[in-house]
Structures are given as C-alpha cells and as structure tokens.
Amino acid sequence: MAKTYPLKMNLNGKEVQVEVSASATLADVLREQLGLIGTKIGCEEGECGACTVLIDGQAVNSCIYPAMKAAGRRVLTIEGLAKNGELHPVQRAFIEHGAIQCGYCTPGMVLSAVALLGQNPHPTEDEIRRALAGNLCRCTGYIQIIEAIQDVAGRSQG
C-alpha cells in the first residue's frame, strides 16, 4: 500500500487540502478524489494534452504530473475559468467560432490558450500553433480553434 500525505494547494482560487497517495498523479486526484472531471484523460502518457491544467499559470500534463508536486502551487482546471456564471472569453470564443465538436480536447485546448494569452496577450498565428502543439484534436482540424484564440487576442487589443 502506498503511503498517503496531506496535499495543500490552491485549486481554482480556493485553498484545499486532500489526502493523496504517494503514487497518485494530479489527474487522479482531480478526477477521482475531487470530482473535477472536466480534466480529461486521453493517452495518459503526455502526448495528447487532454489532461492539461495550469500550475502557477503554466500548462502541464496532469496525467504524468505527480500529485505531490502540486503542494503549495496554484492549480487551475477548466472548472475554475468561469467567473460568476460568466464564461471566460476564451471559452466564449471557442463556442462562437465552432471550435468545439466532440469536446474531448476542449478543456486542455482552452487552458493551453489561457496560459499562452497570460504570457503573451497578442500572439502571432505561429506562436498560437506552437502553444497548442501539445494538444491534439481529432475533430476540428484546428483552424477554428486558432481563429477563436486570435479573436480573443484581437479583442484585448481594444
């Protein structure tokens, strides 16, 4: 039996503490223990980005990220993006641009986009493509996703 440890982190703006197994990944803890199933599992080996969450604003693959590494960090999942019932601008743009089909890649795509815009509010198309290179989508062909992100970046230019 693996040992368990109390893990404290800031999850979607709230301080939480949860007892986690030494052996757990962050995706396990989010999905199985905290019920945050917006974080998806695709490949479970760091290739598809469906499990992307942000740690201190940076995208990571939660399926290969030991839960213990999140200690004391700010963790943002797709559930933490909407504020007061209002979708995040990136979420709204994905809907408006038809950037969602089956939706399985969407939480990861949206979070990679949010991480990018946090570091670089006005990315070029090339920078957007690079930022999404770790997120696979089997439906949309990516074009609408890129347009949605360009739309948000353009709007914030004002």
Partner: protein
C-alpha cells in the same frame, strides 16, 4: 503502482541522505516527464521517489565569471526563454525549444534529459556541443565532470539516480567571434523524437575569416550522443570557404553510424539529413559568430 513513498527534499544533503537510507530502492525525480512513463509502464520500479525540484536555487540560471551555470532542475521552458542563454549559448536555447511540447517543457529538466541518456536527447547534444560539465553530488562530496563522460549506452548514464544527483551544469558563455546553432528534423514539429539533430559551435579568428575551434555533435548516430571529431578536424584552423564546409560535412557523414528505425527513418535518409543539417548549423553559427 508508481511508488510507495514520495519525498519533497529541501536540500541536496537531505535528498542524498534519503537515497542512502533507501539503499537503492529510491530514485530521484526532477520533472518526471520520462520517469513517470517508465514507472507507469512498469519499465522501472521504485519504492520511494525523492523530488529535487523544491531545493532552493536548483532551478536558477546565472552567469559567474565567464561561466553560465544552470541548476539541475531548470526546465526547458526556462532555458528556452532565458535571454542569457539565447545570446551566449544559442545552441542550448534552440535545443530546449524543440523538446516535447509546451506542457513537457514546463516540467521537464536538463538533468533528467542527461540522466535518461538517450543518444539524440536535444539537451544532451547541446550540452556536449558546449563542452559542458555536470556537478555530481554524492555522499563523498561534489565534483565537476565532463557531460561527455556521463553516457554509457542508450538509456544508461553513469549517474546512479538511486544514490547520487546532478546538481548543476556549467559551460563557458560564448565570447567575441563565437556562436552556436542547433538543427533538427522530426516527423512533426512537436512531441516527436529527432530523426537527426545537430549542434554546432564555432570560434572564429578576429577577422572572421578562419575557424579557430569548432564542435559538431550529432544524434542519434551512435549508442551515445556523438561528437564528430573528424568533421571538426576538417575545419579547425581552416579558411572558411565552400571546400572546407563540404569537407567537414562529408567527414561527419562518414564517421556517423546511424541505424534504420522502422518508425523514424532509414539510415540512408538519416545520412542525407546529417549532410543537410550539419551544413545548415555550420552556416548559421558562422554567420552569427561574424555578428
């Protein structure tokens, strides 16, 4: 089952003491982007993971005298963004920008890349090109050793991650008339291992007409990251012209021993890539060194 225990070490000494008490059943984890896969697939088993990423200072990049020192747990994303490395060791910044995906670069570390000892690891090829040294800490103390001496065979390094650790890397920052470049070809631009990668560093004479010194490193063309010394010899103390570049490139093709791999590429194609990428890297590094 990945492990039974997990320790976030707060000093190098604490990490080493934990490993010692585990008597070979513990293993260091930095970013874990390779290790977690090996554990999940059952290719490795450990009782306790000792995480070194919370040790203060272990993820810092600094310039001391003329040396760039990079903490072992510095991520590829930090390296890719560092203006010091982009300006004074571009081969490493360029190599880092090719690793995995943004998610992998935000977590994966240079030390992990070296300890995993893959012959085409982008970070290892760049460090070799820079004549980098690694500081190894174990119970007997700390010492600097050439990174080139750490590779044994594919997947096997001389660093025993169940008993010792790399704490930092260091190499000389490029001076005047010196520069470097990294070239790589893969099936796609992200999340794919290189078919061939090449790191080049050149030091020119004051007039920028001759090569004083040069490093050419290539992967995967041998069981370990490979330094093409005959290609280097073909250029050292030569006037820079088309003949010299062609001689060096052909020497690199001749001394490399790429293998055919079903998924990545045949050896014939790899040889052609060595020719093309070595030339590109040389020309780019020379142009940058001329400034």
């Amino acid at each position: 089952m990945i492990c039974e225990e997990y320790i976030l070490a707060s000093t190098v000494e604490e990490a080493l003491a934990a490993l010692a008490s585990l008597r070979g059943e513990g293993r260091l984890i930095a970013g874990g982007t390779d290790l977690m896969l090996q554990l999940q697939r059952g290719e490795r088993s450990v009782r306790c993971l000792v995480d070194i990423t919370r040790i203060p200072g272990i993820d810092e990049i600094k310039l001391e005298d003329s040396y760039i020192i990079i903490g072992a747990a510095t991520t590829f994303a930090q390296i890719e963004r560092s203006s010091l490395i982009r300006q004074r060791a571009p081969v490493l910044a360029e190599a880092a920008s090719w690793v995995g995906s943004p998610q992998i670069r935000n977590v994966g570390t240079l030390a992990g890349n070296v300890v995993n000892a893959q012959p085409a690891a982008d970070g290892s090829i760049a460090l070799l090109t820079l004549d980098a040294e690694a500081e190894i800490a174990n119970l007997t103390g700390r010492q600097w050793v050439p990174v080139a001496s750490l590779f044994v065979s594919p997947g096997v390094s001389r660093v025993d991650a169940s008993a010792e650790m790399i704490t930092a890397f260091r190499f000389r920052a490029h001076g005047p008339r010196e520069s470097s470049a990294f070239e790589r070809q893969a099936r796609r631009k992200a999340l794919s291992l290189p078919i061939i990668n090449v790191g080049v560093r050149v030091l020119l004479n004051a007039e920028g007409t001759h090569v004083r010194d040069v490093r050419i490193c290539i992967g995967p063309v041998a069981p370990v990251p490979f330094r093409a010394q005959q290609a280097e010899a073909a250029l050292r103390n030569r006037a820079i012209d088309e003949d010299a570049i062609t001689e060096a490139v052909e020497a690199a093709v001749l001394e490399s021993k790429p293998r055919s791999s079903l998924l990545r590429a045949g050896k014939e194609y790899r040889r052609e890539l060595i020719r093309v990428l070595t030339r590109r890297a040389l020309l780019r590094a020379i142009a940058a060194a001329r400034g």
